[in-house]
Subunit: 523 residues, 2 copies
Amino acid sequence: MTDAEIPTSSPETGRRVRREGARRGAGDGKAKLQQLPRRAITRHFPPMQIVSADEIESIHRASLQVLAEIGMDFALPEACDLLKKAGARIDGERVRFDPAMVEELIRTAPPEFTFHARNPENNARIGGNTMLFGTVGSPPNCSDMDGGRRTGTHADYRKFLKLAQYFNCIGFISGYPVEPVDLHASIRHLEALRDAVILTDKPFHAYSLGAERIRDGIEIARIARGISAAQMEREPSLFTIVNTNSPLKLDTPMLRGIIEMSSLNQIVCVTPFTLAGAMAPVTVAGALVEQNAEALAGMVFTQVVRKGAPFIYGGFTSNVDMKSGAPAFGTPEYMKACIVGGQLARRYKVPYRTSNTCAANTVDAQAAYESVFSLWGLTMGGGNLIMHGAGWLEGGLVASFEKFVLDCDLIQMVMEFLTPLDTSQDALGIEAIREVGPGGHFFGAAHTLARYTDAFYAPIVSDWRNNQQWLAAGKPEAWQKANAVYKQALVEYQEPAMDAAIREELDGFVERRKREGGAPTDF
Amino acid sequence: MTDAEIPTSSPETGRRVRREGARRGAGDGKAKLQQLPRRAITRHFPPMQIVSADEIESIHRASLQVLAEIGMDFALPEACDLLKKAGARIDGERVRFDPAMVEELIRTAPPEFTFHARNPENNARIGGNTMLFGTVGSPPNCSDMDGGRRTGTHADYRKFLKLAQYFNCIGFISGYPVEPVDLHASIRHLEALRDAVILTDKPFHAYSLGAERIRDGIEIARIARGISAAQMEREPSLFTIVNTNSPLKLDTPMLRGIIEMSSLNQIVCVTPFTLAGAMAPVTVAGALVEQNAEALAGMVFTQVVRKGAPFIYGGFTSNVDMKSGAPAFGTPEYMKACIVGGQLARRYKVPYRTSNTCAANTVDAQAAYESVFSLWGLTMGGGNLIMHGAGWLEGGLVASFEKFVLDCDLIQMVMEFLTPLDTSQDALGIEAIREVGPGGHFFGAAHTLARYTDAFYAPIVSDWRNNQQWLAAGKPEAWQKANAVYKQALVEYQEPAMDAAIREELDGFVERRKREGGAPTDF
């Protein structure tokens, strides 16, 4: 073992890292990036309510009426059979639900559960007053300011995974942070999920694009954790986002995904894609009725597949630009939908999924304000699992490297905002005020000297230099700092350790499944 | 009267405007800017609490202890005499307050009041669950992307006043939006306040830089409203920000300002400038103790001058960058201080002043996220009078024309967020969902067609074009749109009507006071 390979300990996580990487980070004269240590995020205040309990009941009853009278299309005979046995009325693909049946069947979904990672330090409690931020998921394109906007590749995908691992505020991988389009669709999930468990040790996602991909995802999660199938079934270690085809349709691959996932007690999040004015009524309340009907139908189906299977209520209601039909994000309407969605999820006593969104084309002021308005809505509204936490740009069509860093800074600011204020006698500082007295200053006070190094949040991106210094530095804007930081983070990135036997089993599984042809692409 | 001068009516405000201006706005082929109509802003949910009632009492008691044991310097013998008569202990300039005396004297400050404007449509209720956003106030510099950063001039000052009048979301003028440095300090207030009442008809501010400027400000407000001194005394029509010299000092010109304002029943807002780590303890709680002690001392003094005089509790606690000592704004610490400040103001049953701040050097992502974090804190925290609502950049050293427009968009988004969600049966849209059914879309639904023109907030700055259209347009960033909008707003601006007799009296007063030499500049 050479000196460069001697394992040492990271001061921030306590986890063992290779000294080589730590050296490399410091070796070119750059200080290591500073970030918050990995920690659970807890909301210490009650979530916000912008409609009354009566109004929530109105939305609830309207959703039940939609499900009873209009119904929802389930494009899989097996799913219809299961629902029929549970008491639903079936007419072709159309499934209608008796309100009492819905109310009864949704009771078994658990209010909270633990989402397991291959590194137990990254296990996360989902539900209640916890928050967990993930990467952006699923954009077909990526961009940075050097290479511009381009179709996502395997190489870009791996870079985003490294950033997801590097930044402690990122709690999970939301699907592919960018679609690795140069991997053939039949084996993409195998390569991509192998990368996810090798390059990161955080919990992750598999796409519900048919049964095979989900089965492969579950097996990869099991192998990476080095556990038995029985333990895997006790400990949810994979999640899937099921987007309805709004209005009121669940397609075949998604339904197969739910069956595979819920039957093995893995996590299903049903997220209707209800853009008010396009796939949903033009009113926010109407879009929420549709969202709620679709989410309830999905929740019912998971519980029909397996009582007690972990379910997350997904909200993604936003509006469109009525001039162009383009989706709008981070709008006042988005904020309201986000908060009412949380009220509904809590009505059903299940965790709530939200998103950090924007519609901006570049990492400018618009990208920032739409994202912070999103964070405002989802934080105050009680979001638990936050998809697209970092990197989302252009309404989800682009994963931006600079936006990823910017968002990590924003997430860290939310984390610091959520940290309770210390109002101990010592923090109240009466003696410091006495020491300094009228007209003095606190720079040299004992109270200050004892605390100044970590008194305040130190941002990643913000430039607080005065105008003279900022001009001398070439007038950098926030995206330029973010660009430098993402590159430095990739240099400082440390691949998490993986047991050699696990790695062998993982590679064996992936290679075998690739030889078998992977998964069908004819959906 | 020529055709161009025929008065007509604005569709947005109902106020009479000159057709000339309306024509000019449309004359160059540009559509008129769209903005929200003028309306009162009401918060329909309870303000957020991040510390408990017990913790508020701890901060309250610590502040009282500071005022009793350490005391505060009042640099004006007349003020010390008044406080002595009210029961305070005086030792030179140092004033110490018995806790019971503070508790007793602050009771008389009114919980709410109306701030009167020369146009009664712009009268604003201050306190309770109302919000009123003002312009940026007091930067020595201004900037736009064309002319760059420069010392403020009378011409720039007038442009900002026009923007303040133009944008309906701006409720008041927070002092000079940029300092008109080319006006001599002795007569600056006369020219600047004359401009304020001619170019706008919204409520405004006078600086507490000695007694003369305040007296002149009160007279200009009275003349502009065309009312008697007695009516003026019944109807507060001017406000002043009193910044303490933190820690624990009130200087001579500020104290003279309070005496003039409070004795005539005008509005005093005492705002301690408590940057944690510099002029206040390095802990947020400690800075809040100091803020609260200074604000309470100021409140006591206003009520000693005149029981029942309108008072606003000002909060401006933020932190500094401990590496450089530079002030930081829109930080997590700022948000917390903003929210606890609101809890304290409500403890004392007086309106609460906050600010929309940032420390960015330019109108980039940082400027936006720091501002929206500020808006998050102050909106959830129950801010009533929001200083620096639009235009603040670089920690208040610069008034930015582009940031002014950006902030108006942000304020409008907050206004829309605060609008209660319509959950009527019609809004729930069950019939629209029935009409469209599974797999359809809502673009052509009757429910959509009846509502689409004003279903959603139409932003001023946000660019929601798709990537192709955005590239074809030259990849504009948010600041570029804001730049174009501010110029168009200046073109569309309409000077509010003023009675000829009032104008004559106003000019007569200002010219006489200028001939008399204005106000002393030796403070």
